[in-house]
Symmetry: C2
Subunit: 105 residues, 2 copies
């Protein structure tokens, strides 16, 4: 029952198809507070295999940018692009709901 991208006309569904995934959302949450390194993102509770997959997707979609710093040792940082920052309202909405309805237990 899955559709082709071109067949998805609803903007809600398009966005959800690309980003409605727990690991993706955790990454975006981490990057909201500034750029982060691979290892730091891992510590948020994502194993390297899954983290690589999600980051690749985010970079491909243009919401995250990967920057290599030519240092010794080399350093890599992931950060939100302006397009990525446009997803912050989604995270804010998730936060508002969670705070209001999912605080207990």
């Amino acid at each position: 029952m899955v559709r082709n991208w071109a067949d998805i006309t609803c903007p809600i569904q398009r966005t959800a198809t690309l980003f409605a995934d727990v690991y993706t959302i955790i990454i975006l949450r981490e990057l909201m507070s500034g750029s982060k390194r691979f290892t730091v993102l891992q510590e948020a509770g994502i194993n390297p295999r899954v983290l690589t997959q999600r980051l690749r997707n985010l970079v491909n979609e243009g919401v995250v940018v990967r920057t290599r710093f030519a240092e010794r040792p080399p350093r890599v940082e992931y950060a939100l692009t302006p397009k990525g920052e446009a997803l912050i309202p989604v995270l804010d909405a998730l936060k508002n709901f969670g705070e209001k309805y999912l605080s207990g237990s």
Copy 2:
């Protein structure tokens, strides 16, 4: 690397864990415009097996209410609860992003 619910303290992650799923979001989108019947939701592109799973979850979480009407033939309708309506800002944010960044192609 998956956590127990009690270990998830971040409200963003809590909300995402429960609802960040494409089919769930499609259902919520459909219910935004009023209560819908099972068959109608199916026509949004969700097979009955998956639809049942997602609806059960939504009802368990208290964001959707299932109502049986004692008619002939019996009718069942699914609708957002007030808690479910509190998720509308999430859908709005997804919509805004999609309209701005995912319109082409």
